[in-house]
């Protein structure tokens, strides 16, 4: 040992010298060579320097003692340590045991060098389980790191801590998870969601506590967290559906912005959820009109509930929300996402909507071989139930000679399922080329497929049969054999005059060697022996000769044939039969002996068994039901599509059954998010306001966003050019004029307010300020301030709780404002803060009109950070622009923020009775107007409730005549029952005066008017307290 030690010291010195030159791989090999001899020596006598009391058993088999690595790890040089760790990781990667080095490695866990530290983490996670006591040494390092100001360090500490599978630290992990779950960094919270699963697999007793954490994280509004926490939910408590209710709408709305892997998990969870919560959309023939349904969505909840229970079927708005929000994901580049949306539609959508997934699934077939395999399997299952879905894409399933065998057979399967009277000739022609394929296994599969087509489509049975008979003269044995088997099945189905085919097969019999095919022919002979009375005995004669050399399966059929012939034609075959029965009696195979004995007793009359032999004829020659040729994928639909269980056709462990639709939908109000006041229609706007706007808005999300963004850009550059030279006061004025252009939510009535709106350009810019002040003094005046709620929460915190956030100004770079938002989230989640906000809000409640109350209350339960609000309204990528914008163009004090929420409520513009069947509703989407900055954008949904199309719907005369309206393009034709959503822009000139105009169709015109509430005329902005004071 000493010698070796000396050697390795030398070697490590040498290694130090040549390190710069050597590639680590070479180095590694050198080391390994020395190890071998060391290992031999060390196997027996070694007592370890690192030996803990209970470790010896794990060490029993230990393989490599790597002295020089150990020395490198213990040296003082960072670079030596790093080099050593790299080699250790190399060992781990190769599957070599490096557990010997544990004590040396674990010392470096607190290293300053990040890469070294990471490699140590890799090592720890791999071996901690085996060396629990020593692993405990590292725990304090992680506990310290959990408090580190750097979120990356916090997260990685939690990752490693939770990955060390050492039961003794379960309480520590639990604590760390709980803490991380309310960390201000979403990245750390995400990590804690992952840690939940790890802890659960380590100690199932923690389930209840973990569920609490999951419940908390489910409420998280960060898209980063959503996927991970749902994953934890699926792993820990998939049956706790009740936890999802409150988060259902949020998850639906966040879905598009969640990272792709999270999307898969969330979609599959929501599929299960929906199957327990909604009634089946498949009842009746349910032609379903989405627009109708939308109208309900807008109307109040009570009504919807009544309607749902009543016939006819009416889809739950939440059910529709899910379908609508998953649809864009069909365009994802991630095949798993596309597949999961496809299975969601398959399991949840009304029958007439499922087919929208077809095109996307067919697209996936252009992906990698493995992807094709899974997708084809799912298509195979789908195509059995719904031929129509894939028929237009039949050509996509044509087999290419370069396809792998399992792909070929799946395509064959699908083509067979798709075959019908109309396309069978095309398919058969295609099959003809496949039969000639060089891949014989595939050719055999094709013949079976032809057989299936022949049974399914009676028109082509004869054609197929003839084709198969031709194949009997094929040179390839497998092809012939398969044909024989298939012909046998077909003849059984159509036992009419096919004696010539049987004769033909009898002739071929000598040349066929495949046992299954020989057995099939023999069976045919026996079954239809009366049709070929001359040939059958002759065949039997030949078989009697070769009986002993046949395969078992053939022997059985020989016995069968003999018995049947004996019954029908005993004169010619009696002797032959007896001979064969004698051969069978002494056969080696007991099945054959049994069968022979049975047959002999049955057919050969003697004293004892007279009773049965009377019926021998009826027993043996009974008409037999034809075999059913059906797809192997027929009953795969008992598994949820896209799952592992579906692929392997057995229940995989951990598979969660998809429940049947409930007969009566469970209470749907459980999904309403708690609100203090009856503001139900706002509920879905939680979290993701931009998307949860009613009607079209969700579909239009990206569109309007990008429109908005252009708008923003225009304005940004415009204002920067015009305001560049002006003072800070003028820039605040600018914000005022911006504000008036973006008219916001209505609310109340008072004349005081309309007063205010006339002088709004000044006030709106100073509003938030006044609000702040007034709030402190609690004067009733503060009800005027219609401010984004997030700001409310914000300023509260700034003022009352902590100063941590207020230093970051709007002018900061995007990354800054991110961390800013982190801080907010953190403080938001503290309940204490919330309470404060709430108690502050309470007194205001009394003096405010109802709507405003809810506005402020909403701030209590959606105290989302500013950035979050933005991301909720604008497409994610847009945020970047905005931040860039606010950086360069807009004055530093002002940051546009999206509306904190948008009410679902829409107002009647034109009732269908007055409109002679044309009904119109409007609402304020609270988005910057596309057309002109001074305009308010209004969304109008037009519905034709008549039974004839309405033509040329447009906007006609308006009053006051100066009224500036950006009209929608004339709608040429609106079909009965159809509805359309259009956007118009109205310049209200900062007044609450109604805009009157005419809505015209080809025949009629109807006067309508839109009266904006004051709130709809405001533009939400975000500013820091400092700027706010300055503006004041």
């Amino acid at each position: 040992m000493n010698g070796h030690r000396g050697f390795s010291v030398l070697r490590s010195e040498a290694a130090g010298a040549v390190r710069t030159a050597l590639v680590s791989a070479e180095n590694l090999q050198l080391t390994l060579k020395t190890e071998l001899s060391q290992e031999e020596q060390h196997l027996t006598p070694h007592t370890h320097t690192n030996g803990g009391p209970d470790e010896t058993h794990t060490k029993g088999y230990c393989t490599e003692v790597n002295e020089d690595l150990k020395e490198m790890l213990e040296s003082n040089k960072e670079s030596l340590k790093l080099e050593a760790m790299k080699r250790v990781v190399g060992l781990i990667a190769k599957g070599k045991n490096a557990s010997e080095l544990f004590p040396a490695v674990v010392k470096n866990v607190a290293s300053k060098n990040i890469e070294l530290k990471k490699l140590v983490y890799v090592y720890l996670v791999r071996y901690a389980e085996e060396q629990q006591d020593l692993a405990l040494l590292s725990i304090s390092t992680f506990q310290r790191a959990l408090k580190d100001p750097n979120q990356l360090i916090r997260a990685s500490a939690l990752r490693v801590l939770s990955s060390i599978r050492v039961p003794i630290i379960v309480p520590i992990m639990m604590l760390a998870i709980k803490e991380a779950a309310s960390d201000m960094s979403p990245y750390v919270r995400k990590t804690s969601a992952h840690a939940i699963q790890k802890l659960y697999s380590l100690d199932q007793d923690q389930k209840e506590l973990l569920i609490e954490v999951i419940e908390k994280l489910l409420k998280d509004k960060s898209t980063l967290v959503a996927g991970s926490v749902v994953m934890a939910f699926e792993e820990v408590c998939p049956d706790r559906i009740d936890l999802i209710h409150k988060n259902y709408r949020k998850l639906c709305n966040l879905l598009v912005d969640v990272e792709e892997w999270g999307q898969v998990v969330i979609i599959s969870m929501l599929t299960r959820y929906a199957r327990t919560q909604f009634t089946s959309p498949w009842k009746e023939d349910g032609v379903f009109d989405e627009h109708n349904e939308r109208a309900f969505y807008e109307s109040d909840e009570e009504k919807t509930r009544d309607e749902t229970e009543a016939k006819p079927y009416m889809m739950d708005p939440d059910h529709r929300l899910l379908l609508r929000n998953t649809k864009p994901l069909l365009q994802s580049r991630n095949t798993a996402v596309v597949m999961s949306v496809a299975q969601l539609y398959w399991h949840l959508a009304p029958k007439n909507e499922v087919s929208i997934v077809t095109k996307s699934l067919v697209r996936l077939l252009r992906s990698h071989r493995e992807v094709q395999y899974i997708v084809l399997q799912n298509i195979a299952t789908m195509s059995i139930q719904r031929k129509g879905m894939f028929e237009p894409y039949m050509k996509s399933f044509y087999v290419r000679s370069t396809d792998a065998t399992h792909i070929k057979s799946l395509k064959l399967e699908i083509l067979t399922s798709l075959a019908n009277e109309a396309n069978i000739s095309t398919i058969l022609r295609e099959f003809q080329t496949y039969v000639k394929s060089q891949d014989k296994q595939f050719a055999a599969g094709t013949i079976q497929a032809i057989g299936r087509c022949a049974t399914n489509i009676s028109e082509v049975t004869d054609t197929c049969l003839n084709g198969l008979v031709l194949l009997l003269s094929n040179r390839d044995e497998t092809v012939v054999a398969e044909s024989v088997v298939v012909i046998r099945k077909l003849l059984q189905i159509q036992p009419t005059q096919h004696s010539d085919i049987i004769k033909h097969m009898a002739k071929l019999f000598d040349n066929i060697t495949v046992p299954m095919a020989r057995a099939s022919i023999l069976w045919l002979m026996g079954e239809y022996c009366e049709r070929v009375p001359k040939i059958a005995p002759d065949v039997l004669r030949k078989m009697a000769k070769s009986f002993t050399s046949e395969e078992d399966i053939v022997k059985l059929q020989i016995v069968n044939l003999a018995a049947k012939l004996y019954l029908t034609n005993s004169k010619q075959t009696k002797l032959l039969t007896q001979y064969i029965l004698n051969l069978g009696k002494y056969d080696q195979n007991y099945d054959i002996r049994d069968r022979t004995r049975f047959i002999r007793q049955l057919i050969v009359p003697n004293d004892k068994n007279g009773a049965l032999s009377k019926y021998a004829h009826r027993i043996l020659l009974a008409p037999k039901p034809a075999p059913v040729l059906e797809s192997a994928y027929k009953d795969r639909d008992r598994y949820q599509l896209g799952t592992l269980s579906h692929t392997i056709n057995t229940k995989a462990s951990g598979y969660l059954e998809l429940s049947d639709w409930p007969a009566v939908a469970p209470d749907q109000s459980v999904r309403n998010v708690e609100v203090i006041e009856p503001v139900k229609e706002w509920a879905p706007s939680l979290g993701k306001t931009g998307k949860s706007k009613p009607a079209k808005s969700s579909d239009d999300k990206f569109y309007s966003d990008s429109g908005e963004e252009e708008e923003e850009e225009e304005k940004g550059s415009g204002s920067s050019s015009s305001e560049d030279g002006s003072s800070s006061s003028s820039s605040s004025e600018e914000s005022g004029s911006d504000a008036e252009s973006h008219v916001q939510k209505n609310s109340s009535q008072s004349s005081e307010e309309s007063d205010k709106s006339s002088s709004q350009s000044e006030k709106s810019s100073s509003e938030s300020d006044s609000e702040k002040k007034e709030r402190k003094t609690k004067t009733p005046l503060q009800k005027k301030t219609v401010k984004p709620t997030a700001k409310d929460g914000d300023s509260d915190e700034n003022g009352n709780v902590a100063k941590e956030a207020n230093s970051s100004s709007a002018g900061e770079s995007s990354s800054d404002s991110e961390s800013d938002s982190d801080t907010h989230t953190d403080s938001d989640s503290g309940t204490e803060h919330k309470k404060k906000t709430k108690s502050k809000a309470k007194p205001k409640v009394e003096v405010k009109s109802k709507k405003e109350v809810s506005l402020l209350d909403l701030g209590d339960f959606t105290p989302a950070p500013v950035t979050q609000h933005k991301s909720s309204v604008l497409s994610p990528s847009l945020l970047g622009d905005l931040e860039g914008l606010s950086l360069s163009n807009v004055s530093s004090t002002i940051q546009l923020s999206g509306p904190a929420f948008v009410p679902e409520k829409s107002h009647d513009l034109l009732h269908r009775m007055t409109g002679k069947g044309l009904s119109a509703q409007y609402q304020f989407p609270r988005q910057p107007c596309l057309y002109q900055p001074t305009m308010v954008s209004v969304q109008i949904s037009l519905t034709n409730t008549t039974d004839h199309p309405l033509e040329q719907i447009h906007i006609g005369d308006r009053s006051p005549t100066g009224l500036n309206i950006h009209c929608f393009n004339t709608i040429e034709c609106l079909e009965p029952e159809a509805s359309v959503t259009v956007f118009i822009g109205i310049d209200f000139n900062d007044s609450t005066q109604a805009a009157n105009f005419q809505l015209c169709t080809k025949e009629d015109h109807f006067s309508v008017s839109i009266q904006p509430a004051i709130g709809e005329l405001l533009l939400p902005i975000t500013m820091t307290e400092l700027d706010f004071r300055k503006v004041r």
Partner: protein
């Protein structure tokens, strides 16, 4: 989810293993090796193999099997897609994804795998984020690192991870701002004996190489967006804008990425760019067969057909061939019976042809399989579907970028069935 990963080379050795949960013995791969033995071709190994306690999901890329070990229900596509993403990342980092490259960079591979999955659930798969976490190895950096002992590992959480533009890092700076787009179309076709088209479809991708400073917001519009039937986007593309206006609007990731893949609607007739004339005869009883093959350009819109490569699997009965190409070189492997002919550029004035005789197995009967020929080719500066980019605009940044668009058509799975 994903429990462990084993990398298996073509000779059936496990050369790398990584476990995200407790260690799974590598003996679990025995089930995989069994399946590998049963399969006649490497491609025929089933992607999903159930074993008593685990499920093995594998993908084959660059002749390496990536075998993931799964313990419970998970969408198989989830795993498959992830494994392919791993391969793409390796390729991105090391240029190639071979056994040697992986072994040389085993530490980086390990660091990558560690970041890509946490407890078996994907954590960071976006290459821009990964590159901030772990710097790709370059020769210079390797040398510097070995001397100074500095690291490949980033110290900060990548900004993209938290931002709402997760695919782009912040603070990108270039002195030359450029954006290149390659429209590459592939035509898949099966041509029957008589030269008529059985199926033909065009798929295309737009690959981008964008090196722009800051946070540019690009819009790309097409002259004829109607051609695009079915599209899938990089996550950066704003879907609704496309729905409404058929304009691609996006904040690009930094570097190379695939912006869009599309399928050209099947209503449009596909112009087949090359034709094949052939005459192959096997005479019954004789040991000689004749082989004649001529290629020519068909509808190529005036562009030359280049890099033509013809390959064909001849029937087993063919012992050898004695052929004369008018241009290019041809090889015939008597063991695999694979004939390949590297034609090069097709000259419309003097069509390339391959003529000669085949010697057949004595006494063998006329083969009844149809040989098929696979043709590869390239046509530069043209997209077969006629798709044209109208304009590319940039918002959000002040500088003028250099823009470039390139078109190319390639043969995808282009097969012609030969009669005999």
């Amino acid at each position: 989810m994903i429990h462990s990963l084993f990398l298996v080379n073509s000779s059936g050795d496990i050369f790398l293993e990584k476990h995200w949960k407790s260690v799974v013995s590598r003996s679990v791969c025995d089930y995989f090796f069994e399946a590998q033995e049963r399969a006649s071709e490497p491609e025929n190994v089933p992607p999903v193999i159930p074993t008593p306690h685990h499920y093995l999901i594998s993908v084959l890329r660059h002749r390496i099997y990536f075998v993931a070990v799964i313990q419970s229900e998970v969408p198989p596509l989830f795993v498959i897609e992830f494994l392919h993403r791993v391969v793409d990342t390796f390729q991105d980092y090391f240029g190639v994804c071979t056994e040697a490259a992986i072994k040389d960079n085993v530490v980086v591979v390990y660091e990558l795998l560690e970041e890509m999955l946490d407890n078996g659930f994907p954590l960071a798969t976006e290459s821009n984020i990964l590159k901030e976490l772990i710097k790709p190895p370059t020769i210079l950096r390797t040398v510097v690192n070995t001397i100074t002992g500095s690291t490949n590992v980033g110290e900060q959480l990548p900004t993209g991870q938290l931002s709402v533009v997760p695919w782009r890092r912040t603070g990108v700076k270039y002195t030359n701002n450029e954006a290149y787009f390659d429209v590459v179309e592939e035509i898949d076709a099966i041509i029957d004996k008589s030269g008529s088209t059985i199926t033909a479809e065009i798929q295309g991708v737009i690959d981008a190489c964008v090196k722009l400073t800051g946070m540019p917001d690009l819009t790309l519009s097409f002259m004829n967006p109607r051609l695009l039937d079915d599209v899938s986007f990089h996550p950066c593309v704003r879907f609704k804008r496309w729905e409404a206006e058929r304009i691609l609007s996006f904040i690009p990731p930094d570097g190379n990425f695939r912006l869009l893949s599309y399928h050209v609607s099947s209503q449009n007739l596909v112009a087949i760019p090359v034709y094949v004339k052939h005459n192959i005869t096997f005479r019954e009883g004789s040991s000689q067969g004749r082989f004649e093959l001529t290629l020519g350009p068909k509808q190529t819109m005036g562009k030359g057909v280049e890099a033509v490569l013809v390959s064909s699997q001849l029937p087993r009965g063919v012992l050898n061939t004695n052929l004369n190409p008018t241009q290019g070189t041809y090889t015939f492997d008597p063991v695999t019976k694979l004939l390949s002919w590297d034609v090069g550029k097709i000259n419309p004035q003097k069509l390339p042809s391959l003529k000669g005789s085949m010697s057949l197995q004595a006494g063998a009967s006329k083969p009844d399989e149809n040989p098929t020929i696979n043709i590869q080719f390239k046509i530069q500066q043209s997209a077969l579907s006629g798709l044209k980019v109208n304009r590319l605009d940039m918002y959000g940044e002040k500088y003028k970028p250099f823009k470039g668009i390139k078109y190319m058509t390639k043969a995808g799975k282009f097969q012609a069935l030969l009669s005999n």
